[in-house]
Structures are given as structure tokens and as C-alpha cells.
Symmetry: C2
């Protein structure tokens, strides 16, 4: 160890200076040197990290400018709500409680319209409900005398907070009113307890409600008017995008296997992984989309839940593609003759399946039943039939058990083990096509439901007529 | 339609009265009747729904009493923090801003220790940072004269809020400081803008910080002392539980297929689906676990990230089990003779793989390298070898292409198509065992890393010694 250290200390450090000569770095000695080196290392490491971080941030902004727009929207909304402070009549109007409006903007402003509306409506409703309840509890408490007042208030807070917290665990409440339950606890506690110290309780409740309404209305205006991002539209595009990815992966994997080409785009082949990992985001988007009013081609009450079913069908296909991938990359390689024998029909199945998925994506995109999907499914089924026949005739190529090993190459027959990977691949392909038929079913259901909703909306809006026309503008 | 209606109206409704006789229900006539029926239907429907909802809530509480305990903890913490209002010296101490303490408790109290600590630390740090910055900005604004003050303040809010919002999109910031960034915007805006109206800005900032510290300390005390739920411990148990489920599913599916028994517990067979869907919860738990101090057998800086790798390995096994399941339930049934031929070796592979997973679960549970895992993996590999040999000899049972169809039953040979499902199953089983070896690797890494961390901690704590002893108590 000691000799190693000596060796290390004996090394001469040179740097090339701009003029081309090199200069010997004479290391400073002792403790000072160590501190200097350590500090330099730390600073340069930190600088590196900061540079990496900034680059990452910059790339993110460049890739998705909508994120930058969202940030500007938040800044804008906050600056506008600050005007409440600068304008004397408005400030006096809310009795100096203007900070509630700022707080509202900060906490309810979300990237999508649906998420913001969810929070706004939850916040307003929960605040009103809790405010009234708290004023009632305060009245009861004040009737029970000075001595018992703290106990009545404390007990009511304990009970209501516990119940509201419990309700947040219930799935149906959680998906619709999670934020509302929290705001309920918050407002109830603050108003109920303030009754003990603040004389003008009604004023407090009233100010809190009006500042929250100022904040939420501002948020809703900004989020809906400045480059709005709709959860529903996002969910819709995500579904279409995932279908395209699924189709590309399926086709690419099978083609790469049979043509032995490495020219396929690796990112394209791995596209199915996006489908596997998008369950959580699909669910949250569908959840928020329910709060959104009619936008674009989507009516209020568009069948968003159906997208979750489509997502589940897509994932079940993606699981199979995962298995397909593993058998493509497996060590146990198949005989070339067998591959050749099955390649035409396998390629046909994969290309017809992937064009069926592409057509489904198109159908979801345009939100109408595709005229060609039945034809494509038929084509897929006939390709499957062909694959079946090819599989049946595979035994011709098999090396009969009685043939001696050394005769194999002469006869061109292959041992049984070498057909297993291809057979597995073929049967997974068959399974995928079964799952694609389920996907076709769920997409058709979506289209049907959405057309039905459209008709209902059209019927409801007939008397007014202008509403729809206005929305189209 | 008209006759149907008459028929319907002609029907006599009778109810059996308690004494055994029956009574004719004479329907009230006209509009009143309709309203009455509609109202009754609505009320009974609503009553039904409420009853269902309450039952659901009750079941949830009964199944997981820790949820109920969490609710009581929230109520307790809120009631304690309310004392600030009832005790004059405390209330005066924070200048009537006691509501910040309540708000803190409501928003930072989460079910697990890790999540609560994450929010508490984020809230305190972000509030301090934003408070200082806001006071600085206020000072600059006040130097720039009355006319420019609103502009300076507004511009600083716009810029800082936009940057902080943008930072929330960056994955590394999002996972550690998402809540902190929001609180930063909140505090900065409120303090900076209050400077315009409130004279004693320092007091405001100081009061806000001290109330938040009161709230967070109370939360930390309650969450850690009253039946604490640790994210780390939860993640650990979830991982162990998922491994057990994976093992049961694998073994159950294969056994059900080969023994044709329907006696297997369906819930057990579907266990792998839990593994497929637990990615999001694993990630959030691992994220919160990082904030937790040493607890139970887990040190601070326990390798929580390794659990995510184990989770990913488990999911890759679960994808294969999905494919396995689909080939078990496929329409294309295999010949019994082929099933019999492969059943011994397939069952051996599945049982040895599933006992390897069980052993891994045990190893994670005890957090030490299992002494028998190498043996089990070897056993699995020898079972695989056997399966390979059985597959090789499968061609003996195959119907040679030249044999006429009507000879099949006589010779006992089977057509090629009927071996495909079993061969597919076998090759998926082989793939699963490959993936299990990857799982073994990631579990071993976890155990190694955790032992290493243990050693480091033991070394660091040697001089004190008592710390560790205290934690063990």
C-alpha cells in the first residue's frame, strides 16, 4: 500500500496551456493541498451536476413546450391574483384575508383543465359545506357555556376529522372527492376553532369563501382560456399513440426475427413497454376527464371509462409481445429451415394483426366505426388459418426419431428441439390475434357509446341549437 | 302499447299482512300516485346505495384496522393542535396566526411515517427559504420607490413561481421536492405580497415559520409514537407478499393444467395480477422510505431502490405467467398422451421454480442470504435438463407425416398440432426459470447491499454504541 502511495505521489501532472507548450503542475504540499484538491473536486463535481441538471431541464422544456406554457400560466395567474393586494377596494372587501386567494391559486392550479376543475369544485363545495357546519357547531358550543365550549368544539373536530379522513380511503370517494375531504377538514377546523377567538365568525367564513371563489374563478379562466390542456384529449391521444406503438412493436419484432435484419429501430421495437407502464396515467386522466365540459369532439360525459377498458386490452396484448420478445431473444435458436417454412405465414399474421391495430387506432382517432376493420380481422383470421396449416405440415421437416444423428445434415431434416422456439413464437402470435379481437370489441364499444352520447346531447340541445353551434366556433 | 298499459293497470297488488291474511293495495290515482311512486323509488334506491356504501366502508375498516387507527390519529393531532387556540399564552405567542398550525397538521398528515416526514421537511425547508427570499425581495422593492414597488414584487412572483413550477416537472425534483416547490411558491407569494400591506413583515414571516414548526413537530410526534406505519416496512412486506403470490400462481397454474384438477384456489392462481399492478405503489413507497429514520431492522439509507429492481424482475416473471395462463386456457387442447409425457418434468420445473421463489421471499424477509437458494436453483436447472430431454424424446410420440389419419388411434401417435400447446407451455416455463435466475440475482444484491449498509452504520455508531442499543429496545 505504502509503495503504491509513493508511486502515486511521484506522478507528475502536466497540463497543455493554450500556447501549445505544457506546464508542470507543482502540487501544493501537505494539508492545504489536500483541502484544495478536495474542494476543487467538489466544486467541479457540483458544477458538472448543475450543468447536467440544467441540460435535462432544458431538454424537457424543448421536448414539451406545453410544460413551459403551464409554468407561465401559473406565474400569470399568481400575478393577477396579487392585484387584489394592490387594489385598495378589493383588499378591503375581503378584510385583509387576500392571502386565501393566493393560496387557492397555488394549490388548485394543475397542468390540465380536468385536474384544475376537480380541485376548484372540490375546494368551493367543501369550503361552503364545512363553513356552514362549523358555524352551526360554534353556535351549539356557545350555547353550552364557557366551560364546555372547548370540549364541544374539540370533540366535534375529532369526530368529523376522523370520519372525513376515513372516507378518503373509500375508493369511490377517493376518486371523486379526495381533495374535497381534506379541504372539508381544514375549513371546518379553522372556522370552528376560530369561533373561540374571533368575534365576527360569519365574516371570517364569508371572507374565506369569497376569497376562495375569487381564486378558483381566476384559475378556471386562465386554465381554460390560455392554451388549455384537456385531460380527455390527452387520454384520447395517449390511447391512439399507444395503439400505434403496439402495432409497430408487434410487426417489428416478428419481422426482425424472420428476416434476421437489425435495421429495425430499437425504440420502435420497445414501444410496447410504454403500453405496459401507462396504466396509472390512464386512470388519473380518465378520472379528471370526467370533470371537463364539452371540448373539441368530446361531449361532457364522453365514455371515458371505456378508454380504461381499451387500455387493459392493449396491455394484455403487450404482455404477449413481451413473451414474444423473450422467445425471439432466447438462447435456444431455431433451425433456419423451420424458420423459412413458417416465415411467410408468421409475417402475414403479424402484419395483418398490426394493420388491424393501426386501423383501430385510426378508428379511435376519428371516433367512428372503421369500414375496413371487419375486412382486416378476416384477413388476420385467414393468415392464422394459413399459419395453422403450415404448423401442421411442419412434421414433414422433422427428423424422425429413428434417424441417426449423423444423417441429419444429409436429409435436411432437423431435430425436434430446434423447432420449439418457432412453434412457441407461432402459438404466441395466435394468442396475440385472439387478444386483438378483444381489443376490436372494446374499441367498437367505445365508438358506439360515444355516438349514443352524441345523439343524446344533440337531442337535448335541439331546443337551444345555438349552444352546439357556439361550441363549434 | 295501450293494451299493455291497461293490462298493467289491471294488475292487483297484494301484500301479506303479519296476521297471515292478504290485503289488496289500492294504488292512489293520477299524478299524486306517480309522484308518490317515483319518490318512493328514489328514496329506496338512495337508501340502498347508502347502505351499500356504509357496508363497503365497514368492510374496509374491518379488513384493515390500521386505516381506522390512522383516522383516529388525524383526529387526535388536530384536537391537540387546537389547544393552541384555547391556551392564551400560546395563542398570543403566534399573534393570532394559530390557523397555520392547524393547516399544517391537515395537509402534512399522511398514513405513513415516510410520507409525513417528506411533507414536513419539505414544508419547513421551503417555508424558511421562501420566507427569507421574500423578505429580501420586499426590501429591494421598497428601495425602488412607491411607484415601482408593485411591479418589482409582481415580476419577482411571476419569475420565481414559473421557475418553481417548471422544476416540479423534472423527475429528480419531483420525486424529492414536489411538495416543497409548491410550498415555496405559496410562502414566497404570500410573504412578498403581504409586505405591501402588512407593516411587520418580519413578524409575519416569523409567525408563519413558528406555527408551521409547531404543526410539523406535532405531526411527527403523533405519527411516530402512535402505532407508526413505516413506508419501508410496507414496501418490504409488499415485496415478500408478492413473491409468495408469484410462487403460488406459478405452481398452481401448472399443477391445475397437468392434473386437470379444478380444486385450486382461484384467488391463488390470479395472485400474479397483484404483482403486475403494484408498480406505482412500490415506487411511491420506495420514495417515501428514503425519508424514514432507522426503524426495525432497516437502517437509514437502506437500499430501498433495490426493491424496485426486485419488483421489476418479479413483473417480468409475471408477464410470462400471464402468457402461461393464456396457453393453459387456450381452445387448442393438447393430446392427453403428450401431457402425460411431459407432466412429470413440467411439474418438477414449476415446483422447483416456485420453491426457489418462496425461498427468495424468505431470504428477503429475514434479510440474509439463503443457505439453500443455490441448491434450489441447481434443482431447478436439473429439472430443466429433464424437461429438455423429455422434449427431445417427444418426437417418438409424434404421428409421422406418412401415417394415414385413421391409423392414429391404432398406433397411439398424435398429430403435430396437438403437441403445440404443451410445447409452448414448456418453453414459457423455461423462460420463467431464466427470469427467476435474474430475480435471484437482484435479491442477492439487495441482501449484500443491506449487509454492507449495516456494517457502515455499525462502524459509525461504534463510538456511541448506545444509539443502536436504544433503537433495538
Amino acid at each position: 500500500m505504502a509503495s503504491g502511495k509513493e508511486l502515486c505521489e511521484g506522478v507528475e501532472w502536466r497540463i497543455r496551456v493554450v500556447d501549445g507548450s505544457s506546464e508542470v503542475l507543482v502540487p501544493p504540499t501537505g494539508l492545504a493541498r489536500k483541502v484544495w484538491l478536495r474542494t476543487k473536486g467538489l466544486i467541479s463535481g457540483l458544477g458538472m451536476k448543475v450543468r447536467m441538471f440544467l441540460k435535462q431541464a432544458w431538454d424537457m422544456g424543448a421536448n414539451d413546450p406545453r410544460k413551459v406554457i403551464h409554468c407561465i400560466k401559473v406565474g400569470l395567474a399568481l400575478t393577477i391574483v396579487s392585484l387584489v393586494y394592490f387594489m385598495r377596494p378589493l383588499y378591503d372587501g375581503v378584510g385583509g384575508n387576500a392571502m386565501w386567494a393566493i393560496m387557492t391559486v397555488v394549490v388548485v392550479f394543475e397542468p390540465t383543465v380536468g385536474a384544475t376543475l376537480y380541485k376548484c369544485l372540490n375546494r368551493v363545495c367543501a369550503t361552503c359545506l364545512a363553513g356552514f357546519l362549523a358555524v352551526g357547531v360554534h353556535w351549539i358550543a356557545s350555547q353550552s357555556g364557557d366551560r364546555f365550549e372547548p370540549f364541544v368544539v374539540g370533540a366535534s373536530i375529532f369526530i368529523l376529522a376522523s370520519i372525513a379522513t376515513f372516507s378518503r380511503f373509500i375508493p369511490s370517494v377517493k376518486s371523486m372527492f379526495d381533495y374535497g375531504a381534506m379541504i372539508f377538514i381544514l375549513t371546518f377546523s379553522i372556522v370552528a376553532i376560530s369561533g373561540y377567538r374571533v368575534d365576527k365568525l360569519f365574516d371570517l367564513a364569508h371572507q374565506r369563501i369569497s376569497t376562495i371563489i375569487i381564486g378558483t374563478s381566476l384559475c378556471i379562466l386562465v386554465i381554460m382560456l390560455v392554451c388549455p390542456i384537456w385531460s380527455g384529449q390527452e387520454l384520447h391521444s395517449l390511447t391512439v399513440r399507444n395503439m400505434d406503438k403496439l402495432s409497430d412493436s408487434l410487426d417489428g419484432c416478428v419481422r426482425q426475427y424472420f428476416t434476421n435484419s437489425n435495421g429495425e429501430d430499437d425504440q420502435k421495437l420497445q414501444g410496447y413497454k410504454c403500453v405496459l407502464s401507462s396504466k396509472a396515467s390512464e386512470e388519473s386522466m380518465a378520472n379528471f376527464a370526467r370533470w371537463e365540459p364539452s371540448h373539441g369532439r368530446f361531449n361532457f360525459r364522453h365514455p371515458w371509462k371505456q378508454y380504461l377498458k381499451i387500455g387493459a386490452s392493449m396491455r394484455s396484448c403487450a404482455y404477449c409481445i413481451e413473451a414474444l420478445n423473450s422467445c425471439i431473444n432466447s438462447e435456444n435458436q431455431a433451425a433456419e429451415s423451420i424458420k423459412k417454412h413458417l416465415s411467410t405465414s408468421c409475417l402475414k399474421v403479424s402484419s395483418s394483426s398490426s394493420s388491424a391495430i393501426k386501423e383501430l387506432a385510426e378508428s379511435v382517432k376519428k371516433m367512428n366505426k372503421s369500414p375496413t376493420i371487419d375486412l382486416l380481422v378476416e384477413e388476420m383470421n385467414s393468415a392464422l388459418e394459413e399459419l395453422h396449416n403450415d404448423l401442421k405440415s411442419l412434421s414433414h421437416l422433422l427428423n424422425p426419431p429413428t434417424t441417426a444423428e449423423n444423417q441429419i445434415s444429409a436429409t435436411g431434416l432437423v431435430p425436434f428441439m430446434e423447432i420449439i422456439p418457432v412453434v412457441t413464437l407461432a402459438s404466441i402470435l395466435i394468442e396475440i390475434s385472439v387478444r386483438i379481437e378483444a381489443l376490436v370489441g372494446s374499441v367498437e364499444e367505445l365508438v358506439k357509446e360515444s355516438e349514443m352520447k352524441d345523439k343524446i346531447v344533440a337531442k337535448e340541445e335541439k331546443p337551444e341549437g345555438t349552444m352546439k353551434a357556439l361550441q363549434r366556433v
